[in-house]
Symmetry: C2
């Protein structure tokens, strides 16, 4: 992996790396924040998954997370949201193709040759981080919107792999909402039973561990009713006795101003679990 | 003035307004952060002046200042850096024309019909803010790079108008460095005696009040030696007994990661002076 940005930030370093990904069959970038504590000892890692249209830049430039990561001694790894490049299939819409990988492994043409973000996030990226950076084995995962969907589904499908999980305005029930149905049909084909393997509401029913979920959702989010519907996850968690802290935040929308306002509390939540 | 963005942020509101500016003869935008305290009582205002290429968006999306403004009950007003629009003179370079107003009143063609950022920042914008928003008469001013130059020169030329001033990586001696000489020659003509009215190092000699200057400068800033040279301001302040706190920050560059790392201390500095 090649370092392409290296900037002092809150006593640590906000870096960006580039590497050739065999999983995604293209060049990928990710941001890494190294807090000052990482100069002396390994630190736990929080993986941050971004939302539709984002690259590795959005979170690292807009969320203001570095201050809190420096306070708690947490490394934050923020990957891109899809494979990228001229040879990678794309779509003119914002909610499919490049910038919209949905954190799954596509089985359908033309997506299946590159769109394997699930394997990238679960296996390739942590292996790369753990062999190159001063990290412990303690992992947390969080994300925003499509990335909140990624964080929740990946944590629910991999019991024991993450010590903590949280999300901002996640797509909790993609099988049943327009953004999710469009992407799941394109990437996985027209088999709803496959879609439910990437649907938090469906996965709660069979979750093998009771990892507590922390979710913030803005009540003025323009996507709340059509795409997000956190109440469906609340109902599933109640039914299956899965611990959930769902915080509805009056006045907040879907932007990074919302993420920035509560990222400090999420980082404190992860830091407490990651030790 | 027309509100074009309104987003909840740290318990307050990050807004953007648009208005027709008679001073600049074009439509202008500025960001306003209203902390939660502003719902109950007027708050003091910090004016933030951005650097080359910036619009009103850079500071409000990248600096993470809202958290600290909410803690201290400070309103932050962040204007654009030049007149804008199709009818406004421009230059293909980043350091002249739109995005590079240099906070002065141009006297030369083709700039003089729009480029009056000095009058806009000193008179028009505060009058607009003070007649439309819940503000006290306590004003601070700060900025980054070209905006640090603007903050320092405007505070030095207007004794009594600002209670506090600070800057990040300011252009302190534009009469003597390439960025400044190019802009000052274009906007003001080939008369160096006029340039010195917009040069902090020159203005220190005749400053009518001893307003303390707080300046942070990254030691890894790629523009440090050719364009910024804060040591020239240090020498002028020593010679003329002007209070200056110049903090050289090892490892930090010229980016918003640098600004974000120290904006909290600057906001605390302004809040203490603004009461």
């Amino acid at each position: 992996m090649q370092q392409i940005e290296h900037r002092a930030c809150f006593g640590g370093w906000q870096d960006v790396y580039q590497h050739a990904s065999p999983t995604l069959n293209c060049t990928m970038r990710f941001g890494v924040y190294l807090p000052p504590q990482a100069e002396r000892a390994p630190c736990p890692v929080l993986y941050w998954l971004s939302g539709l249209t984002c690259t590795e830049q959005n979170f690292i430039t807009k969320a203001g997370a570095q201050r809190y990561a420096a306070e708690h001694g947490l490394i934050i790894v923020a990957p891109d949201t899809s494979p990228r490049g001229e040879g990678v299939a794309d779509d003119p819409a914002d909610d499919l193709g490049q910038g919209a990988g949905f954190y799954l492994n596509a089985t359908e043409s033309p997506w299946s040759s590159h769109y394997r973000m699930y394997d990238y996030i679960v296996d390739e990226l942590p292996a790369l981080i753990e062999s190159n950076l001063p990290v412990t084995q303690a992992r947390g995962i969080s994300g925003h919107s499509m990335g909140g969907h990624g964080a929740l589904t990946i944590a629910l499908r991999n019991p024991g792999r993450y010590h903590s999980v949280s999300a901002f305005a996640p797509i909790v029930n993609p099988s049943e909402v327009p953004w999710g149905q469009k992407a799941l049909r394109a990437y996985l084909g027209d088999r709803p039973e496959d879609w439910r393997q990437h649907d938090s509401v469906a996965l709660i029913a069979t979750a093998a561990e009771r990892l507590p979920l922390l979710i913030d959702q803005g009540e003025a989010d323009p996507f709340l009713n059509a795409q997000l519907q956190p109440d469906r996850l609340r109902q599933a968690c109640e039914q299956h006795h899965h611990p959930l802290q769902l915080r509805l935040q009056p006045g907040y929308d879907h932007s990074y101003y919302f993420v920035a306002s509560f990222i400090g509390e999420h980082i404190a939540h992860h830091a407490a679990a990651l030790g």
